[in-house]
């Protein structure tokens, strides 16, 4: 089926890409700059401070390790939801995407317990520089997790109607949603050792 906008689904002959693919990678490039700037801020703050606490003295390493495993697993289930659509299995897609969204909830729940424990002990972003950059980095990351979950829930729910009319376009949407979700996992892969272990 031809679309009003060319290369919505079919690839451009010169680049070999369709619009969604290029669009999501350009967006991820901007996200790299966003988190990169904050990481640079973290480095500057850390080396510029005469004293800097080791992350594990303030933060909960076991909980964060569990969260790391949760996000890595959700990346696997996300890619499996996409391969389910390649195999034309909508039921399997729903299962894997449901698990992906569910694991996102697990991540958020663990973060809720982490944050509320900090606040309960009066450890706030305003308490010291370490906590300020910790809450900024993990808070922004958490917002990205929520955003990704909203998109995934849409694709699982009302968005999946597109499977009946435009299966290829829907499959591509799931693929690029996966690319964003993997990026969110990637940021956490760096956040976890930098903040919690060092």
């Amino acid at each position: 089926m031809s679309h009003a906008i060319p290369f919505t689904v079919e690839a451009r002959p010169d680049t070999g890409l369709n619009n969604v693919k290029l669009g999501i990678w350009l967006f991820l490039a901007s996200e790299v700059m966003l988190f990169g700037a904050l990481f640079a801020g973290y480095i500057l703050l850390r080396v510029g401070n005469p004293e800097w606490p080791m992350g594990h003295t303030i933060l909960n390493v076991p909980l964060a390790t569990v969260n790391t495993v949760v996000l890595i697993t959700s990346s696997v289930t996300m890619v499996m939801s996409w391969t389910s659509l390649l195999r034309k299995n909508l039921g399997r897609f729903r299962l894997y995407m449901g698990v992906t969204v569910g694991l996102g909830f697990v991540f958020l729940t663990i973060k809720y317990f982490e944050y509320s424990a900090k606040f309960h002990h009066n450890l706030l972003p305003s308490t010291n520089t370490f906590l300020a950059i910790y809450f900024t980095l993990t808070g922004l990351h958490m917002l990205h997790v929520v955003g990704g979950m909203v998109v995934n829930a849409y694709l699982l729910g009302p968005g999946s109607k597109m499977w009946r009319t435009e299966p290829q376009q829907f499959t591509n949407r799931v693929e690029v949603a996966g690319l964003f979700w993997h990026f969110v996992d990637l940021v956490w892969i760096f956040l976890f050792p930098v903040l919690y272990l060092l």
Binding site: M33, A40, T65, S75, H182, I189, P193
Partner: protein, 100 residues
């Protein structure tokens, strides 16, 4: 993924599961190494090295970067260049004053 027939999908799924296992092992390795006694500089180097390997696995296989088009490599190369600039410019500017 160029071909989407069942056999090639099965092969890719096996790859994804292998990457998953590697990521779990590397996560546990990161935590274990952090418990050993070493200087902060060594700790940072090891932790970031393992994190880069993990990130590389996610990018190459889950995000299909290994089999992507040249245009995407171009976008990524540009991003890496500017990311390094954003990372290094402030740090190098202040480097002379650090510790004084």
């Amino acid at each position: 993924m160029e071909t989407h027939d069942d056999a090639s999908i099965d092969k890719h799924v096996r790859t994804y599961l292998a990457v998953f296992g590697s990521l779990l092992v590397l996560t546990l390795l990161t935590v274990w190494v952090s418990t050993l006694e070493h200087s902060v500089a060594i700790g940072v180097a090891i932790a970031l090295f393992i994190a880069t390997v993990k990130a590389g696995l996610v990018a190459s296989y889950f995000m299909h970067l290994l089999s992507e088009r040249k245009v995407i490599y171009g976008v990524m190369a540009l991003t890496v260049f500017f990311f390094l600039a954003v990372l290094l410019l402030p740090v190098l500017t202040a480097a002379n004053g650090i510790g004084s």
